[in-house]
Amino acid sequence: MAQDHEHGHEHDHGHDHAHQPHPFQPDLEETPLTHYQVMTQAVGDLLIEKGIFSADELRAMLEAIDAKSPAAGARVVARAWTDDGYKARLLEDVNKAAAELGIDAGGIPIRAVENTESVHNVIVCTLCSCYPRLLIGLPPDWYKSRAYRSRTVREPRAVLAEFGTVIPDDVELRVHDSTADLRYLVLPLRPAGTEGWSEEELAGLVTRDCMIGVTLPKSPHY
């Protein structure tokens, strides 16, 4: 037992924890529900009560959305890197091009914006958090933060630098604010030194963040 307790009483507790109540992680029910959480819950309950869909269908849909991951987007990007015809179709219509690979990217139209030697693209939704969820999974928390949403249009180079990404001044930094009916995906530049790589190997270099545009694909040398 620690000898340096400063409290006044003498008896032995048989353990040595500090005598302040230590903080604990609140249970979900202990954080107040927001207006919109209450509304979402209520609408969900009503739709189930009215038989529009069942509780199990709602659960299955949530599970399906949660199961989406950047891996599908990475496959699409890797195919575009190895097949120019596919890349052209991807730049035309991401949903259709994804379907060619057996990927269901959902009904909201997704467009790809291509990085080149002279243009680097980055995606933000300043009004909310629009994101191609059905292709690359749920957005990271920072994507939804007010800081990212407001600063990416105001000082995009500073934001990218905080992600460790420095875009040379002679490259046009193009910020896409997706506040309407479409979602956007960055098609990154294929890293040099990957000649002869398989699609699967290439997909391993494609991260969520490089499809948002805040970074570049992983280097093939690590």
Partner: protein, 94 residues
């Protein structure tokens, strides 16, 4: 509904500040950009937000702006650009 503006057209975003649900970001209102793509008709989200039909659908455009023209003290590079998706009811001939 046919689109009023073609790719390459210079357009000015209305400097309007209506209350309620609006999809046009503040930072482009009153600014001039260029149409880079005509995305097709989409139901008006400013009406859909209130349970109305959103019809007639509005042509939706991708409009590119010089970022340095959007902010007085932009400290990026001179060729940096910003692309915003804008509905036709927010655009006028520049």
């Amino acid at each position: 509904m046919s689109a009023r503006f073609a790719v390459g057209a210079d357009v000015r975003v209305r400097a309007a500040f209506p209350p309620g649900h609006v999809r046009t970001p503040f930072f482009v209102r009153g600014k001039t950009g260029r149409v880079t793509q005509v995305l097709g008709p989409y139901r008006n989200p400013e009406a859909l937000a209130y349970g109305r039909s959103g019809e007639p659908a509005q042509p939706l455009y991708r409009v590119v702006f010089e970022t340095a023209a959007l902010w007085d003290d932009y400290r990026g590079a001179p060729h940096d650009s910003t692309v915003v998706d804008l509905y036709e009811n927010w655009l006028e001939q520049a």
